[in-house]
Structure formats: C-alpha cells, structure tokens
C-alpha cells in the first residue's frame, strides 16, 4: 500500500532554529509535514477531521486523520462522517483546516508560543485568491508564522525529478490527483500556467465509482464496501487497459485469459450446520406427546361437562322439590314462602325449571333431535298455534291485533325455515343422483372417465389461477416484472378501470357542450364507478368449490393423482415455504473482473461518469494548444519529456496507455517519451523540502507585514520562482 500514515509525535522540534522552514504538502487526500532539507516528511495523515461524540461522557471531540479503527468504538460516529477542508482541490473550510494544522504542528512537536518558522505550503494550480488569503491569514494570525510561501505540488515533484534526470527542463507534467487532474507545461524549468488545463476527475472518483459498482453488484455485502476497503481494492487490483474495447471483449468472451485476470475476494464465511430431517423416533416421540396432550384436554373437557351436568341435575331436583312444597303450602303463606326462596312467583320457578331442563339436555348432547321434533310437532298444528291469523282485523281489539301481527311473523319465518329444509333435502337428493350418474359413467368406461376428469381438473385449475392473477396484478400476464411502479401494481383490472373513470370524470370539465345524460347509457357510468367490488366473486367461489370436488373425486378413483398445492391464503398451513438454497462460499465472493480496468478508465474517458471534459491523453493536446508560442521544436521537446506524478499515476499500464494516446494526437514521427516520477506520492513533498532548503528560498516568501501592506491584488499575482 503506497499510503502509510505516520503520526508519532516528534521530539526534536527545538533542535531546529527559527530559520529552518517547515514544509507542508497539503493534498486533498493526504497531509504531509516535515522539515526543509530532509528527505522524508515527519508526519503523514489523511486530510480529514471527524467530530464524533464520546459515548460515555457525551462530549464532542475532534479527531484528525486516520487512526486505529478499533479505538473509534468508544465514539459515536453516526452523527457526522469524516469531513474535509476541500471543495474539489481548493481549501474552503478553514475551521477544519485549523484542526488539521493544529494536529500537524502538535505531532511535529511544536512548543513555544508561536510557530516561529517560515512555512512553505502547497496549493492547487491557480488557487482562487480568497482561499489563498484565508490560508495566509490563518498561518499569520493564529500560528504566528514567520513567513509564508505558496507553491504547486505537481511543480515541486517535477523539479525534484528533473534534478534526478527523469524529465527535462522543457516538458509536460501530468498530475492525476485525488479530486482533479492537471497538465502543466514547463518551459525552461518554469511552469507555464497559461498552457495548463484541469479536468475534475481523480482518485476520489475512481474509488467512488468502484464502490458504487460493487455495492450495486453485491447488494447483500454493501456494508463490506467501506471507503477504506474499496480504496485498498483499487490500489491493489485496478489497472489501465491498453485498449478498453479489446480488454472488455476479452472478458465478454470469457476463457482462460479473462479468468486469469479476474480477482476474487473471499469474505469470511462459515458453513451453517445443515439441518437434518428429524428421525423416525423423533417423529414418533412428538406424535406421542401431542397425543398425550390431546388426551388430557379431552379428559378435562369431559370432567367439566360431567360436573356441569351434575350441577344442573341438582338444581333441577331442588326446583322440583320447591314446586312440590309450593303445592303443599297454604294459599295465604305462598308469598312469605316465596320471599324466602328468592323467586317472585310460581311462574318464575317454572320458567327456571324449563330453562334448566333445556340446558341439561344440551349438556348431555341430546337437544337437537328433540327440538327438530318440536318443530315438526308445531308445524302439524299451525291453525292451533296461530288462531288469530284467519280472523279479520275489524273483529279484533288492538291487543289482539298486535298478537296477530306477531303470529303472522312467526308463521312466515317458520314456513321459510321449512322451505329451506325442503331445498336442502332436494339438493342432497340431487347430489346423490349426480354421484350415482358419475359412478355409472365411470363403470361404463373408466379410462375415458378418468381422462375427462383430468382435463376438467386442469381447466378449472387454470381458470382459478388466472382469476387470482388478474386480481393481484391486473392485466399483466407477465406477473414477474412489469417494470412499472405506482398504483397500477396494486389494483386489479376492474379497480383500475374504475379509477380511470373517476379521474376522467373529475377532470372532464367545461370542454364544449355538456351532453352527459342525454342518452340513457350515460347513467350506466355511475354503476361502474359506484362500487369497488368484484362482480365475479360468486362465480369464482363456484369454480373453486367445483375444483375441490373434482380433485377429491380424482383422489378417490386415481391413486396416482396428486393435487396441485394451492397457493391460497386460506390454507397457509399447507402451502410449503419455497426451499431455500443453502448459502455457499461462492455467495460470499466478491469478483473483480471488468471493474479492474473499468474504474480507472474514467481518467481517460471522464464522460463514463458524466463529467464532460477531456481525458488524460487529450489533455496534453489541449495544453499544448493553449501555449502562447506555436513552436514545433518546443512542442516536440515537451512531448519527449512527459512526466507523471500524483497518486493515480501508480496504476499499472498508465504509461503505455498515455503514450499511445499522445501518439494519436501528435503528428507522425513526433518524439514521445513518458516517464513516471520516482515516487509519485511523496516526490511533491521532497521537491518542496529541497526547494525550501535553498539559501535563496527566503526571497520567495512573504511576511505578515508584506501581506497586509501589499494587498489582495498582489497576493493574487504572487507566484514563486521555482528555479532558484
């Protein structure tokens, strides 16, 4: 991994005299700080700040950079994620910048009342003056810096590598960074910003693209793809394809070569113990337990019933005894006798007696037949029971009229009951007749009959199923995916039609003459709109009943027949859960195939992620075109010293690809040489350190008084000379 943080506190701060400059490479992804003249920065950390809440004390704390993630368990990081001081490659959030500088100076071991050193800090190409002045203000006012100088990281890297003979004094620096990519032409060892160009794409976009693609491809493992992990994957496995189309075809065709290029990340996975089906013994044991429980319940119910019968019988005896006694009691003593028993009159006692007898009968389970008998008995003597019905109204008193009404009502209801009973009997007869016919047909030609039954069963099945489908998702026959969303998914066809009618009716206003109602058919509309029910429900029920009948019949006569499992809600117990495929280690594999070169490809084709700017190779052409002097020799010199720096130039294959891309843009026979920095990540800091160690460095810095005297316009034009 090329990026390693170093955050140990330095102890030798006081060893350096105030004249020794502090060098800061303030990159959008990493912050590096150290002493001028040294070859390695002292402190390196990710340029981010987190402000989580401490879980036990509840105070908000500041955590700068990247730390051991295990330590973050004491903090609640859900409220705020990591924040950066950068918007694109420009520092804009100076509160966060201050936290970062605090941490950096602290880890550098700073003591004393101010940072009494010159500071060289990097910035982006053509940094807006607002950002530059705020940074200068922060360094002077808050930290009391002795003097400040701003420089561009890519340029320092170029100068450092020029010293090591990697590139010439005329050349092109290509710097794909974290959020932006720059191309800077160099003439006579100085950057020419006029010919510079910037595309807003960088390592951040590549990581984000990879992260999104992976989480779309493996939605179940989304939580695995943290920013840090994906960044690691990117650095370890991504490469630049020499030709994207060819490489993609290779993967599309498959085969050995593609397989070799595919990387697989096995997530931790443990095989779940497979559940064995319960053994015979187990089943028997369970059945026995169930049986015992059932037995106990039955016993309990029986005991309850017998105790109730007992109770009722006792009551009955009591009441009978009471009545007997009542018969023996003198007429004048009746009232006093009754007041003792709690009953108001003899009728009441009799009433209770009949009630108790009835409940007793019920409890003993013999009520029904007798009642039916009663009914029949009652029927036989209708005229006795309803004496008033046939008497004309005018011969009756009002009392009797009421009584007559009641009798009429009773009579009609009992007749209705009679009729229903009749019908039931008839239906039963019909059914018996039908089954007999069926049986006869079957005996006539069993084979044919069986076939007929089967076809009938199939037809019914289809019919019922179709209706169900219609009910659940309307007219779509491809029930699995219609692509559409919204109301259509939830309503059936009839309901949808109704909604359509309602909406058209609601919005059909004032369009010409209103002729609604002129025709009788118009009013039918209300019938359609009126109810939200399904008219064909009865029919559906009939079909279902028929289906059940046929399938039971088939089960009787055909031993091989197995009815289809019914996926209805009415029988959830019988519907079997679809068998779940046991998860294997392959379900926990993250396969990186095309993604390996698809993600870095956005450096060359930013429009793949919707950024409408030229890619890395075309940028060189744009840059050369932007140069003020049109000099063929100079252009050739530039392309023969193309230099790459910045984290994204670490992708394997980027050199070759870039060279091929530039060759396509340049005239035939142009000299082209592409070189990568010795260390694309740290060379910017090293170059800056070397630069700040030069004795003439102090001429390029400005002090606090300079800053306030010369004003903003001067600061805007401020630019260090890189060749000292």
């Amino acid at each position: 991994m090329p990026f390693i943080s170093k955050i140990q506190r330095q102890t030798d701060y006081n060893r350096f005299p105030p004249s020794t400059p502090i060098v800061i490479d303030n990159g959008a992804s990493y912050f590096r700080i150290g002493w001028a003249g040294e070859t390695e920065p002292r402190v390196i950390f990710r340029n981010i700040v987190q402000r989580p809440r401490h879980k036990s004390t509840g105070e908000t704390v500041t955590i700068v950079g990247d730390h051991d993630p295990a330590l973050l368990k004491y903090f609640d990081c859900t409220r705020s994620g990591p924040r950066s001081a950068f918007d694109s490659n420009v520092v804009f959030q100076f509160e966060i910048m201050e936290y970062i500088l605090d941490f950096a100076f602290d880890r550098l071991g700073a003591t004393g009342s101010r940072i009494d050193h010159p500071i060289l800090i990097t910035e982006c190409v053509c940094n807006p003056v607002h950002s530059r002045s705020k940074m200068a203000e922060l360094l002077f006012e808050t930290y009391g810096a002795r003097s400040v100088a701003f420089g561009v990281d890519a340029v320092f890297s170029y100068k450092y590598n020029q010293l090591h003979g990697i590139c010439e004094k005329d050349g092109l620096a290509i710097c794909p960074g974290f959020t932006t990519t720059h191309v800077i032409p160099f003439v006579d060892g100085e950057p020419v910003y006029k010919g510079c160009c910037r595309t807003n794409i960088g390592g951040y976009h590549i990581t984000d693209y990879l992260k999104q693609l992976l989480s779309l491809k493996y939605p179940h493992h989304m939580a695995r793809f943290t920013w840090e992990k994906v960044e690691d994957l990117k650095m370890e496995h991504c490469y630049i394809a020499p030709d994207y189309a060819l490489e993609a075809q290779l993967f599309q065709k498959g085969g050995k070569e593609a397989e070799d290029k595919t990387r697989c990340w096995q997530l931790p996975w443990v095989q779940l113990p497979t559940e064995e089906p319960p053994s015979e013994e187990e089943i028997a044991r369970k059945a026995a337990i169930r049986e015992r429980q059932g037995q106990r319940l039955r016993e309990m119910a029986e005991a309850k019933r017998s105790s109730r019968i007992n109770e009722l019988e006792n009551q009955l005896h009591e009441l009978e005894f009471l009545l007997q006694q009542l018969g023996q009691v003198q007429k004048e003593d009746i009232l006093s006798f009754l007041s003792e028993t709690g009953y108001a009159s003899k009728q009441e006692i009799e009433l209770t007696l009949t009630k108790v007898t009835q409940s007793l009968r019920k409890a003993k389970g013999e009520s029904k037949p007798e009642q039916a008998e009663n009914e029949e008995k009652a029927d036989s003597c209708t005229s006795d029971k309803y004496p008033l019905i046939n008497v004309p109204d005018n011969m009756l008193t009002s009392e009797q009229l009421k009584e007559k009404k009641r009798q009429i009502f009773l009579k009609t209801t009992s007749e209705g009951r009679q009729r229903a009973k009749q019908k039931r009997v008839e239906e039963e007869l019909e059914r018996v007749r039908k089954t007999q016919q069926d049986e006869e047909r079957r005996l006539e030609n069993p084979q044919l009959y069986l076939e007929q039954m089967h076809t009938k069963y199939k037809e019914l099945c289809e019919k019922v199923e179709l209706r169900k489908r219609l009910k659940t998702n309307g007219g779509h026959t491809n029930g699995s995916n219609s692509g559409g969303v919204g109301r259509g998914e939830r309503l059936n066809a009839a309901q949808r039609e109704r909604m359509r009618l309602l909406t058209t009716a609601a919005f059909d206003r004032g369009k010409g003459e209103d002729t609604f109602g002129a025709k009788d058919e118009d009013w039918q509309l209300y019938k359609l709109m009126g109810k939200d029910n399904d008219d064909d429900d009865d029919e559906a029920d009939e079909d279902e009943a028929e289906l059940v009948r046929v399938s039971s019949r088939l089960q009787e006569i055909d031993p091989t027949f197995v009815p289809k499992p019914e996926p209805t809600a009415s029988q959830p117990a019988t519907t079997e859960v679809p068998h779940v495929r046991p998860l294997t280690n392959e379900d926990f594999q993250i396969v990186l195939g095309v993604e390996r070169f698809r993600c870095p490809e956005i450096l060359f084709h930013p429009n793949l992620v919707g950024i409408d700017q030229v890619g890395l190779d075309e940028m060189t052409g744009v840059s050369i075109r932007r140069l003020p002097s049109k000099d063929k020799a100079l252009e050739n010199r530039l392309t023969s010293s193309v230099f790459m720096t910045g984290g994204c130039s670490l992708f394997p294959g980027i050199n070759e690809r870039l060279e091929a891309g530039i060759r396509m843009l340049r005239p035939c026979g142009s000299p082209i040489k592409v070189a990568r920095a010795l260390d694309p990540v740290l060379d910017a800091w090293r170059g800056a350190s070397l630069y700040a160690a030069n004795t003439r460095f102090h001429q390029q810095t400005f002090s606090r008084s300079d800053y306030y005297e010369k004003g903003e316009d001067w600061l805007r034009r401020y630019q260090v000379r890189y060749t000292l």
């Binding site: 401490h54 004390t57 704390v61 500041t62 955590i63 700068v64 330590l71 004491y74 918007d87 804009f92 509160e95 201050e98 936290y99 605090d102 941490f103 602290d106 700073a110 003591t111 004393g112 101010r114 940072i115 982006c124 190409v125 053509c126 807006p128 607002h130 808050t142 930290y143 910003y193 510079c196 160009c197 910037r198 595309t199 693609l213 779309l216 189309a245 993609a248 075809q249 993967f251 599309q252 699995s480 995916n481 692509g483 969303v485 095309v594 993604e595 698809r598 930013p606 429009n607 793949l608 992620v609 919707g610 950024i611 409408d612 700017q613 030229v614 890619g615 075309e618 940028m619 744009v622």
Partner: protein
C-alpha cells in the same frame, strides 16, 4: 476517557500552546457557525473581479469537452454497449444483460443512471 484512547492521543487537545488564538476563542460554543464560502461562491467572486482573460485563473484552466466520439459502455457489465433501453435509459451489451435490466427495480436503475449523472433528479 479510556486509557487506550488517551495513550494513542486520539483526541485533539482543545488548547495548543503554540497558537495565538485558540479554537474556543475563535469559534465559541453555542455561537452560530461560520458559513464558509463554497467553491462555487469563491469562483463567482473571482469572475466578478474582471481579470484580463489572458491571465490564467481557476475557472479558465478548466478542460474543454472531449472531441473524441463518446464511448458507450454497458451500464451493468462494462462491455461495449450497442443497445439502449428506452424504458430505463440504461445501455446494455446483450440479451442476457437486457433481461437483467428489465428485472431491475426502479431504485437500482436510478442508481446505475446516477453513476453517469443521467438519473432523474427530483427537486
């Protein structure tokens, strides 16, 4: 604070001896937060300055759009995509991918589109 947190010096101290103005003085607690100018606003201010157009600045060093024909790749697989689904607006490479495209829920379609900034954005 837990011992290991203190040992790692995870938490940034609030007071720094080398600072002239401390954080808590500059941004007192409870006071409304400073609204920092976003890059867009900073650049707007730059443009308003009316610098000479020859002078390079942050805005005019931006790269132009590409002159090369736009490369179309399958949104799902990354292969070259000769086809385009008018219903979802996704590009796809072959029939297998098309089947997948049509079975994707709308949310996923939008996420794929968002990758190339072609998603429907509701404001």
């Amino acid at each position: 604070m837990e011992a290991e947190v203190i040992k790692a010096e995870l938490v940034l101290p609030t007071h720094m001896s080398f600072k002239r103005i401390q954080m808590y003085e500059k941004y007192p607690k409870g006071q409304s937060k400073v609204r920092w100018k976003q890059l867009k606003q900073i650049l707007q201010a730059e443009i308003c300055q009316n610098y000479s157009p020859d002078e390079p600045n942050y805005v005019n060093i931006d790269s132009p759009p590409s002159m090369q024909p736009c490369k179309r790749i399958c949104d799902i697989t990354g292969f070259e995509a000769p086809y385009h689904d008018p219903r979802t607006n996704l590009r796809y490479a072959n029939t297998d991918v098309f089947k997948l495209v049509r079975s994707l829920p709308n949310e996923y379609v939008q996420r794929y589109l968002a990758l190339r900034k072609a998603a429907v954005v509701l404001r």
